[in-house]
Symmetry: C2
Subunit: 185 residues, 2 copies
DNA sequence: GTCTATACTCGGATAGAC
DNA sequence: GTCTATCCGAGTATAGAC
């Protein structure tokens, strides 16, 4: 991994742990084992580096989800597999958490990957719901758009509850609580 | 409203808008129309002021919710009234949003009101679910703990989705998506 | 490409006058 | 109680040497 890569990886970790406002160039350099000059040689400044980091995180998150969505089984099985997947719950969502960061939301270039990734996720899940309703694996009454929003929201909120309580079980509870929507019991 | 009160109110607004890390004493003073000396006369420093602000916000939020929970109607009606209540969606939840703030989570005194308020909310909603199952206004299969977690999570996550998309409709979608859980369609 | 030096502002707080 | 002065470190970046 070269220096530019290490800088991006360090930035990804720090954005996840401390958010954008709470992350300083100096902290990034130290974690990456790079000096000031090195960082400013490879990137224009903090926003440019953050942009590279957020984009990489967004791509990784989408790819990981897509892995579940295109796996084996009925639409319902793929959906519940995604929901029940192992997660580092107490760290929160590395994309959703950025919505709380004022400097991210104020910068179109930093906000765009956040907006797009969550929109993509909702759309992808809505498609699965539609598919599941069509093939009979999901209850026929479900509205795909609303159900997808509820599922993604329950996950994002599950992170919030788990972090507030310092207990990953709350994420699990939230997921278990929406599963009846999908006809699971 | 005296100076101490104005300082607390300014802090509440700034915590909501910019989070703890993103809020400086100077910004608080300016918004409150108070000087440095004045602020440090009334409060020990930024953490003490934040604590007062967060506690006031937590109390206000609980009181507002309790108003809906003790209103008229069946348990289900009170629950849906709470969910459908008018909200300033794009500003996010002034308590839930704090879970993303590293300096809040690292300080036991600042974190406690966040932990407690969300735990109280879940407990209160779980009670309503239990009540609704008992009086027949809610489906008998519901698990109160999980359902309460799912409901609170859907709201918290609804804020995240709405802010990411810059569109309050996503909060509404998430709520509409979980209503079928309560037997609404 | 990376290092060190330098610069300037802001964050957070203290001291003492009024 | 409030004001102004002052302090020191951190945040963010530039300049120029190597």
């Amino acid at each position: 991994m070269d220096t530019a890569d290490r800088l991006i990886e360090s930035t990804r970790e720090l954005l996840w742990e401390r958010g954008y406002v709470g992350t300083s160039p100096k902290a990034i350099q130290q974690r990456a084992g790079a000096g000031q000059g090195s960082m400013y040689h490879h990137f224009d400044g903090k926003p440019a580096l953050a942009r590279a980091a957020i984009e990489r995180t967004a791509e990784e998150m989408s790819a990981l989800a897509e892995l579940q969505f295109t796996g084996p089984g009925t639409a319902r099985e793929r959906l519940t597999a995604y929901l029940l997947r192992q997660r580092d719950v107490l760290r929160g969502c590395p994309i959703g958490g950025l919505t709380q960061d004022p400097d991210i939301m104020a910068d179109a270039l930093l906000k765009a990957p956040v907006t797009q990734t969550l929109a993509w996720l909702r759309g992808r899940i809505a498609d699965l719901v539609t598919e599941g309703v069509a093939d009979g694996s999901l209850p026929p009454v479900l509205n795909p758009t609303n159900t997808a929003a509820a599922i993604v929201a329950a996950m994002q909120g599950g992170y919030v509850l788990a972090r507030a309580a310092d207990d990953p079980a709350l994420f699990e509870n939230a997921i278990a609580g929406i599963l009846p929507l999908l006809g699971e019991r």
